[in-house]
Symmetry: C3
Subunit: 309 residues, 3 copies
Amino acid sequence: MTKLSSKDVLRSDQFSKAEIDLIMETARTYEAAVDAGEVLDVMKGKVLSTLFYEPSTRTRLSFETAMLRLGGDVITVAEAKSSSAAKGESLHDTIKTVEGYADVIVLRHPQIGAAKEAAEATDQPVLNAGDGAGQHPTQSLLDLYTILKEQKKVDGLTIALAGDLRNGRTVHSLALLLANYDVRFLFVAPDALRMPTEIVEQVKAAGIDVQETENLSQAICEADVLYMTRIQRERFEDPAEYERLKDAFILRNDALASAKPSLTIMHPLPRVNEIDPDVDAFAGAAYFRQSANGVPIRMALLALVSGRA
Amino acid sequence: MTKLSSKDVLRSDQFSKAEIDLIMETARTYEAAVDAGEVLDVMKGKVLSTLFYEPSTRTRLSFETAMLRLGGDVITVAEAKSSSAAKGESLHDTIKTVEGYADVIVLRHPQIGAAKEAAEATDQPVLNAGDGAGQHPTQSLLDLYTILKEQKKVDGLTIALAGDLRNGRTVHSLALLLANYDVRFLFVAPDALRMPTEIVEQVKAAGIDVQETENLSQAICEADVLYMTRIQRERFEDPAEYERLKDAFILRNDALASAKPSLTIMHPLPRVNEIDPDVDAFAGAAYFRQSANGVPIRMALLALVSGRA
Amino acid sequence: MTKLSSKDVLRSDQFSKAEIDLIMETARTYEAAVDAGEVLDVMKGKVLSTLFYEPSTRTRLSFETAMLRLGGDVITVAEAKSSSAAKGESLHDTIKTVEGYADVIVLRHPQIGAAKEAAEATDQPVLNAGDGAGQHPTQSLLDLYTILKEQKKVDGLTIALAGDLRNGRTVHSLALLLANYDVRFLFVAPDALRMPTEIVEQVKAAGIDVQETENLSQAICEADVLYMTRIQRERFEDPAEYERLKDAFILRNDALASAKPSLTIMHPLPRVNEIDPDVDAFAGAAYFRQSANGVPIRMALLALVSGRA
């Protein structure tokens, strides 16, 4: 049986290609089982602890659903800040305590490196559900899974990442994960919010063709996948620059006239106004399916790190 | 097999008489099974999401218990306000996301019409657990179930609804639901807090005999069922009016001397001071049994909307 | 089958020696079963309600894990303050409501006597998870269980309780529980934070040898078990007194040089700075194992009060 080389899931770039394939295949198997109405007992008798130092309902519910659909149980700290941490306990001590209860730990924390620190404190598997500006590997894996499901392949695709590419943890992780494949990237961002040079360099070093542009309309014409993120006023030093650009980074139906009919539109959610609700009716508007894909991906990860898949 | 005509539970007046009978009968079956110590698996492998945009511990725990006693699982957002909604996500988008995780959704929301909006966003069944000043249909159904259990019938009963009848969502819904039966109503309220005219007219149009009064003592003499609600100082324009009336709307043991021995006393809870704790010892003081009846009623609804009953 | 004489767990001094033995033996059985990977169904079909009027993540998760590992289900009120209580409901009414949902109730409350009040309101078993400055009996039982596991016995041991002995609910309860055994006590505290006279007298009346001291180093040399608690600045009337003493009550590796190699170090957690992290590597540093022991002890109590063990 193939295995993951680490029982922790900390970074989107920790996996070999074979491991990524294993995760995708395992997710597919579980998704098919759930769709067929099967009641699984893969994690029967096991307890997952979710530990959220900042709220993220989407990610928390997705992990909890994954554990429950595998037949396991869940204990929840939806707002860890207001509990032991408030009494001055270190993350290390909290993790050492939770390892006495749970078999797997999912951690969301506002500080970069928190998940790694947690993983070093315990022998139980730790899954990083976002560590501040750091990593959010399960998001990247479900993004990849979504592309595979919507486009039936990844190799050969032109993938546009659009919006705030400077500050977006999500797009950084996804770019690095997709660098395992034979893709072409369009990085679409205002000049002030361009993809960090080190990510661009790392992706190019992997042999990927990268084109940077400010022109979303042009990118839409060429893309097989459009991954939208929001640009926020407070990220701009010059408010006039924000006013000039904001409308160009809102996706509306009219912009899709020149898109490929097979275009897949993705978004990590929540959206505010960066995708007009009219776009939801577009066949390739995949963001809610993308969100739902979090469940089979997290089922796969929970089972794999527990040696149950 | 009889079915509900809609998979959503949004309003207490959405049900036909046959559907109400089905819900009551299904609730009776589940209650008997739980009392007999049976472990049910009606909802095995299914996930309920409770989504509470305002806290209501009683209603949330009751729904969660119902799902667990049916063998199902639960994911909880006890305070939805502090999560995705705070990041600017619309209710529509939140529901589209949760539908990717859960098989059934229970929604509590401060705005009228929120449950309907949620039901329109998703194909999953949505159960309205209270939408502001709007509806709270599962409360009305458990109220009816309680009357049936305590009095062994509904037809022929004199039912007094007392307290703040102007602002009470609970008494509005209950009055409309009971209009399906051959009852007589006593609406007992201060003039400033009378039952809204449209409810009175709607009930009369159904052929129900209605008497409106300010006199709680007189109503207690005649009633088979007394449904108490609280009158609150802030509802009165004239504070002197509140002072004059408040004591008349507090139920104490002495007022029960002239009641029928078989009187059933109900209250949606929580109570503050409108029923004296001494009344709890009265055989017909049914409010805690009423609260417990929320579990079989919600078991019935969860199973019926899921096509599992 | 031996039984507990009460279905409620309210105080650490409510148990006979035979009952304590039963609890320890039951905990051992469940711990072995969990370690062996057995999936238990002792509480299958039963629902536990945790009701926390003040946050205590450690205690709540430990109880919830215990119930889940017994095959039961859980409904949670992690912050009861913000719910029905906020609407003016009495503890009595809240308990009467929850008894309609759950089969067992775990209560954490800031007021002394709250657990007793809750137990009097309901026929369901109530387990006290801490009532203010009052009792925290399940903590004392897991402390005893830890001593038994670490030292293989209790009789004959020299047990040092150190730190703030005046205000520590934990050390009071533990002292009274250990008075059932043939131990020797060292009470190690600054003069301002000495063990209350009534506890000292009660323990002596049970025939226990007690020595009181301010000298932690000396106590470490003699002890088989060292139970550390934190001394807090705000407990001292004279800040200079706190400054003089605080360093003497921080445990560091150098102080362990003169300890018995078999010394067991305990702490109720969370710790802030009263045990240096370097001490964690000491073989007898048992505080995280102690915390984990909360699960089998609470499994035993849940099953015993429910008549399932």
